[in-house]
Every structure is written in C-alpha cells, then in structure tokens.
Symmetry: C2
Amino acid sequence: MTGAPPDGTRFVLPDAAARRVEVMAALRSLYHAWGYDLVEVPSLERYDPAHPRANQSFKLSDRDSGVLALRADFTPALAQLVRLTQPAVAGGAVRAIRYQYAGSVWHAIDPELARTREFTQVGIELIGVSNARADAELIHLARESVRTVGLVPRVEVGNPGFVRAAFTGAGVPLGLQAACADAIDRKDRSDLAALLGPLQLEREVAEAVLAIPDLYGGIETLDQARRAVPWAAAHRELDRVAGTLLEFEDDSDLMVDLSMARRLSYYTGLTFRAYTPDFGQPLLGGGRYDGSLLPAAAGFSIGLERLMRAVARVAPSSEPPPRVLSLDDPAARALRRAGVRVVRSLSTEVAAARVEAVERGVPYLLVAGRIDSLGQPDADLSELEAILHESGEAARD
Amino acid sequence: MTGAPPDGTRFVLPDAAARRVEVMAALRSLYHAWGYDLVEVPSLERYDPAHPRANQSFKLSDRDSGVLALRADFTPALAQLVRLTQPAVAGGAVRAIRYQYAGSVWHAIDPELARTREFTQVGIELIGVSNARADAELIHLARESVRTVGLVPRVEVGNPGFVRAAFTGAGVPLGLQAACADAIDRKDRSDLAALLGPLQLEREVAEAVLAIPDLYGGIETLDQARRAVPWAAAHRELDRVAGTLLEFEDDSDLMVDLSMARRLSYYTGLTFRAYTPDFGQPLLGGGRYDGSLLPAAAGFSIGLERLMRAVARVAPSSEPPPRVLSLDDPAARALRRAGVRVVRSLSTEVAAARVEAVERGVPYLLVAGRIDSLGQPDADLSELEAILHESGEAARD
C-alpha cells in the first residue's frame, strides 16, 4: 500500500482523533442519560436494490455469489434489528424502544466531486411509538446534542405532510410533486413558479403554493401558514407541528420551517434539522418515517465530520503533549496512577532524553526520582513532586 | 433488507455494546497514560496484492476502475500514515512514535467455517525505535491490557529469530522452513520429526531442532535452550530475549516460549501473546517487524470479540435498566444532572406508565415531582428525593 489513501477517505491525526472521541463520548452519555441503549450493527449488509440508499452503496461480491453492500445508513439496519429481536413492535405493538449508534457509513459517490465517501454517523432512533411526546423528545435531544458539544443550537422543525397536503389541495399532479418539493426545500420561488406555470392553477391556488418557501420563522409562522394555505388537510398537518411544540416548556432555539420538504415520500411526520450560527450546513437531520421501515419510528443522525468542523471553529485545537518524559519506571507508574500522562524515554541516557523532551514539547523530565522542569515555570513541578513524595518514589537525599 | 445479517457478521445488543464501550475506554485510557496517541485510518484501502493479508481481503470495484479493499489489518495503514506524516522516521531516523487504534477489520474467509468475518481490533504500535526498552514497554502493556479489563494475564515471549537461527545452523533448507516453523509453533514434535526425516541430519543436529517445541517455561528456559541448541547465532537471539526480560523489575506473569514461530518471515524480533487462565485462545498477539513495513516498528493487537468472551466468563452481564421512568420533564432533568438515568414515558397516563415501568424493569416512577418506588425497597428512594428536593423540583405539599 503506497501513497495517499483512496479518494474520499482520510487519516485522522492525534489531535483530531482525541477530539472526536471526546465529542462522541459526550453524545453517548447524553443519550444514555435519556435511556437510549447503544447497539452495533454490521457494516456488511446483503445488497438490496430496495434499500433507500441502494444507488449510493459500495457493492462487494461474496464467495457464495451473493452481493454485499457496505452500510450506507444506519436506519435500515436498526429496523432489521427490531424485526429480529422485537417482532411484536415490528408488527405494530406500541412499546418505546430507544437505540443510539455511532459508526462509519460509506457512500460510493463520484470521487471527483471531492466529497467524503467514508464518514461517521452518530444518532438515535425512537421506535414503537408515534405521538407528539416522542417527536418532542427527539427535537429536544437534537437541540441538546448541539449544546453538549459547546455550540449554540438552532433547530428548525418542519412537516413534509403539510407540503403534501398543499400539493393535493392545489391539484399538483403526483409526477410533478418531487420537483416542486425540491424547489420548495431550496426556497427557490422562481423555480417553483416555473414548475407550476404549465398547470394554469387559479391565482389564489398558485399563490398558496408559492407562499410555502417563505413560511419560516417563529411559532407565529404556523398562523401565517394557516392564512396563506387554505386547505383543511394542510391545517391538520399544521396542528401536528403546533401540538409537538406545545410539549416544550422551553422552546428557545426552535424555529418553524414549513418549506422543509426533503425526501417527501420517506418522511411521514415532522422533520427537523439542527444548525449553529454562522455555520451554513445542518449539523444533524431527522424526522418521523412511520410505515417506511417499521410501523412507528423516528430519529436523527449527526454527521460527525461536519460537527467537528463546527466545533473546531469555536474551540480550536486540544490535546497537549504528554506532561512528563521518564527514565524512571516506578516513579512514572506513581505519576500515572495520579492521572499524569507520562511517556517513557526509550534511550537510557539523560542527555538524549533531555533533547527528546524539548523536541516533543514535553515540559518535564523524570530521572531517578527527580523532576526536571527544563526551564518551564515551576508551578506544576511542586504538584508532581508532591505525588512522587506521597508514593515514596521521590529521590532521597 | 430482510432476515439475518450476512454470514460472519452480527448485531451487538445493548448489554454487550455497553460492555464493549467500557472495555475499549479502559484500554484507550491505559495507552493514553503511556503516551500512545489515538489515530484513525481509512477502512477503504487501495487493493495491493503485496499486502500481508491480500488474500483475505474483501475487494470492491471503484468507479475509476481501481480496486479497493476493506481494511484487513491496521499495521499497513499505520505504516502508510507514518510514511506520509513522518518521512524522516520512515527513512530510518530514530524517534519514538506511539499510536493506538481501535476499529473494524474484515476478513473474506469462507463463511462456511462459521467464523467472524467482521471484527474489532484494538492495539498499539511503537514505531521508530528498535531496542530492548521498546520491546519491554510493549510486553508490559500487553500484560497491563489484560489486567485492566479485570483478567489475570499470562504473557508468553518468544523470538522467531531463534528458530530461524536454529534452522540455519541445522541446515534446514529454506523451502522447508515454513512447514517446520508451523510444526514447531503447534508444538507438534512428530510432524516436525517427519519433516526433518528426509534431510538425514546428524543425530545431535536433529535433536537440537526437535528440542525447540519443548522450550517453554520460566526464564530458566533460556539456559535450557542454550544447552539444547548449540549454534552461536541462536545464542545471540536468546540474548535478545534475556536482554528484554532484564528490563522488567517485575517479571511476574511472563513466560518464555521459544517455539513461537508464527509468521516467521514477517516478525524480525521478539514476539509475544497474552493469555488468561482457563481460556485457551490468545487474547492478543504482537511483536517486532523491523524492515517489513518500516525500518523500526513493533506493536500488538487485541481481538475485541474474543477478549469480550473472556471478560464475560469472569463478570457476566452488566447494564441495569434505566432507574426512573418519568412523566415530569423538569424533575427528570434535575435527576439526570445528578447522574441518574431517566427515561421518559411517552404516554401521559399514570396507569399506563406504571405498567410500562414494571414491564421494562425500571424500579421507580416519577410523576408530578413525586417518586413512586413501585414496591421496591426504599433505600434509593430517599437519595432520589434528596436530589429533587435540592433542585426545587420535588412535589410541594
């Protein structure tokens, strides 16, 4: 193996890797506190052309002439896990199952687009219950996920069902709905107008649909939508959003975005995305997909690489070098027991160890029970000496 | 996607997944305290027929008609990382680089052998220095890895260089060495005798080689080997083992196994395997492979699935269910802040929540600032009530 890693893959160096572990541990612990159980799913799957991301999968030939695919998404694998281990819930029984996951996914997209093809997803699924309390829990945890890594959250809540109901009310033909939804999701009013033009809708009807890309803002957006879009079925979908937002005692950092219309045929209830100020791309996205893979299921997933870019902007760099370079194994052990990071010198010569410490930026050298501060301020020195003294491993005069 | 996961892959359910995370965190923290930096390497690699595990790789076709392989081993990828980021060390400069890693590897072995094809490796590499101190550090950390997960260690240290030197001394032809080494490694004296037979070696020479499978035991094994195997080059290899063992103030749980001869052409210095009593298979294996991928490099890797089986034997099961099922969000938050695992009921009816708590084995129900112990002993109840009281979220009478 020579040269750089394959296009769209990369090495993660110590500083970044330490941070990723820290962020993943913080998220894991948040979800754990709320009762989400960690599970692991295989990264090799049987290739299934009906998989929602089948056209993005890396395929592998297996020995038995079967075709495997690398995991492109966690949701289908988690649904399979529920079908295997909780068949009653997979058959429609109401029972809350809470899972969390973290791991790699692979998308076989064109490497010339210079995008990542191997990345890390962290997320949760709340399966077996479909109601406003469940949706509110996920939206709250989306917000907390952003907060827990030290970022200011903004969570936008939408409902593709509202867009679907408006299309039905306006008489937008099924074949045109995906394109119109896409234009709405991109908030591209002129593209939407061009798509609707040939339909020769009544003016009020066309205006109702053309209003959707602007239905974005605080909770008052729901009233605005009620006035702009007249159909009763669409109003019922607004009631679902209102009902979920009512679950929050604290709705700070929540926004309504009724133009959210991505994956219209997959999501069946509320959808949401979380952002942080001055970082354009969403940090996580999710929603309810009842009936797609399981009778009742909703969840969200975080793109870890993107989240780390956002985290790096507010808190650049991290891992300091080890604090002590040691030529004294018993004393080093005493320091490690006290939580100090100590690296051994592999030379036995003090002069060489001193050069090594300076080159690596390690501030202290430990030789024969003595700490040498190598010209650093002595504040920590006394702390390290106290540890050695207590352990009985300090040099005796 | 339907049915069970592909052969050789599996789901990891909550109990086991929680344990895996715990064990991986303990190992990560051990290696970190010793100055090993975590790095991540891609799981997609360019397929290379010269890769030590090329014949075990899952292959994938890439869009640009290149061939990719799933990572079958961490060592080559880490060597590539060193070549890219530390070219001086890759060129022979002496500078200690310490890496740790954890992640999946995939072996495309025949699924009919019913073995795992996707598994998890955790390990460390100590690159850039080749001496007894470096070897001793790795062997010590192999022993500590087993201890840190709560098992009693036994680390066996060998030196394939000793076997190679004996073959040269005895005049075993190169073409026969791999088969003889394999017989020695399996401690199969009769197979070894059958292989040596046609060579018509002098009796003393044949007896020296036939003695190797039995050269196993405490440090006195080295003297025994010196008497049994006469060649000076072989004695120099015994000196290497002795020199490394001399580095230990505490050599408890260390054994010498001079019949260790696996991957004779790959390992160039000491090799070792760690075991725990009454568990036949090695928990980890490693050694020095100077010149194979980098001028100076040694390391070891742990098969996490096997380690977890050994851990499960001494400490079966783990994760308790969440402690509290809640219908009171503000009070639940106060408990979570105090480290209590609290799951929300998605029903709003107390009777339904009570049934849910009993069914899930959750011992306490939280409703309107009151903790209901559901018939459990009340020891913890007062602790939970104290948390709520302090936070001001307890029910007021």
